[in-house]
Symmetry: C2
Subunit: 158 residues, 2 copies
DNA sequence: TTTTCATAGGTTATACTATAACATTCCAGC
DNA sequence: GCTGGAATGTTATAGTATAACCTATGAAAA
């Protein structure tokens, strides 16, 4: 993850979510908003039960559906993505555009970088068309080493 | 899924797996082989506990590690892929080449078509390079409607 | 106003997915 | 025959997700 003003990051996404929710007339309730805030705290993926623990600590209830319902809503609205490889969730960094999420997942520090690629890669579209398959959603996930962790592995004093 | 001779399909993949296992001097034991045979029976993705049930019925043991160990081996060897979206497993249709699996997952019949696309899409590679991220593996999964199910949805007598 | 309906949230229970940890067996190579 | 590694057997438990049913709230219809 490149250094950046994370406060800005949070505000920008939260404002955009607020705006979009109002525009779409969907109910951005306190528990939903707070779930998004929690996910925005870091760029690492958070498991549902990690989110639940935080929601519980903040007085929103302790049962799994509390977390899963908030996540369902946030994903539906495109504010959050599920990282399938990790069974974990990250706030979307590009809530202003519909897109196919593509993740770079660090196997060392579990950080997740969301990158901006085309909605669906042309090669896959071609294959789908040839097979008569109608793509509705797609996703890409890559695993490897982020810049920082690669540096560490190189270090002689590992 | 296009009509095809599924017997051929199975034999081809099984032979190739056998050959590769011998070549790589890995131990293609009965339970591992049988797990692959079970997964090859259909192009739908099978959950680990579905596989386990089948293995148990065929006398290979009833405890989860039985299935997960076989799957670990088969995935390691590239004979099987995990479909993350479904938490389920499919036999690889291209065991003779190292590749990035790309799946077309039908939301209706759960069939999974593995398509042949480039190892990692150029756009993602570019993004990764820009972020200083070293990709080690990647995958793509698309959800939608397969040819057959699309036909059904169109049907007036739905 | 009262009814009605849809949406959100509370609560309990349970199903599904995956791995840790340790014991045992078997075989290859010394 | 001993030794060490790989595979398997077995028990227990951790982690992920949803079903089902109930209550509250509020806006729209009657």
């Amino acid at each position: 993850m490149r250094p950046h003003d994370h406060g800005d990051c949070i505000r920008r996404v939260l404002d955009e979510a607020e705006r979009r929710a109002a525009e779409d007339r969907v109910n951005f309730t306190p528990v939903r908003r707070h779930a998004l805030e929690i996910l925005l705290e870091s760029h690492a993926a958070m498991p549902a039960y990690g989110l639940l623990k935080r929601l519980d600590a903040d007085g929103f209830g302790s049962q799994p559906p509390v977390a899963y319902r908030a996540l369902d809503f946030l994903i539906e609205q495109g504010f959050v993505h599920k990282v399938e490889r990790l069974n974990a969730f990250v706030a979307c960094m590009y809530p202003h555009e519909t897109h196919t999420p593509a993740f770079l997942i660090c196997r060392n520090c579990r950080s997740v970088a969301e990158t901006c690629v085309a909605p669906t890669p042309a090669a896959l579209l071609r294959e789908a068309r040839a097979a008569g398959f109608a793509i509705e959603r797609s996703m890409m996930e890559a695993e490897g080493l982020c810049r920082d962790c690669a540096r560490e592995e190189d270090a002689p004093c590992d």
